[in-house]
Symmetry: C2
Subunit: 141 residues, 2 copies
């Protein structure tokens, strides 16, 4: 299984350690195409010498080749929103995970979209259970 | 011409007055489907008694019926990112406007997308010129 994991880069790296933990967990199910999202050295500057055009085209190709998009959507991110829009339009399975511990309210365009699964979670253990159940429902594990 | 204007709601309302000014300007070209984005009474809580499902489905229907998407992308917003993704996937004309006055860097998924026009601006006068030229290039005004 090819998994596209989406998390905030330029929107803010507050959850970078969490993304890394999710990615390590996802690797037990298949290939994670976007391992760099969890890289602690990747800052919100988000540049590593490549152009935005290269980043977009590479990430979109990964996204469209993936079997599933799993997005951590607590940190607001334009890029993650864009990826969810492209994945839903392409008919992909999409799971969005939101931690309602802050005052933030998730976007209605994400939480109100019937073509994806939107789930609140509080702990990492809960998050792992949600991912496992979602993948088991949608794929032969 | 049907124009879908996108700006941040739950991502933050710092630019709400600017959105209103853009919408008033866009109304000189055609029908703006999303006039509520500029409403000063609309807060980042973003609720007005309707469900997220209703908001998503209404806005998506407007978006897919529009001739053009014009998005102000300075304030990071998951919903605006999603709308840009859906519009690009649908082959719509998309103009994204970014004010690089802050330390923020626009998402590479937006600024690096070849299927939309991404433009930096500094003043409202400049922004109006960019919109006018974009619409003139793409539509019979």
């Amino acid at each position: 299984m090819k998994i596209y994991f989406a998390g905030s880069i330029r929107g803010g790296r507050a959850d970078a350690a969490l993304y890394l933990e999710i990615i390590e967990f996802l690797k037990t199910f298949g290939e994670v195409l976007t391992e760099h999202i969890g890289d602690p050295n990747l800052t919100s500057a988000g540049k590593d010498g490549i152009t935005d055009r290269f980043i977009h085209d590479r990430d979109l190709e990964w996204l469209l080749s993936a079997d599933v998009l799993i997005a951590e959507v607590t940190t607001t991110s334009m890029g993650v929103g864009y990826e969810i829009g492209r994945a839903v339009a392409d008919g992909k399975k999409v799971l969005c995970l939101f931690r309602p511990e802050t005052e933030k309210i998730p976007s209605a365009m994400i939480s109100g979209c019937a073509d994806l699964r939107f789930v609140n979670y509080e702990t990492v253990a809960e998050l792992k259970n949600i991912i496992t159940r979602f993948l088991a429902e949608n794929f032969d594990l």
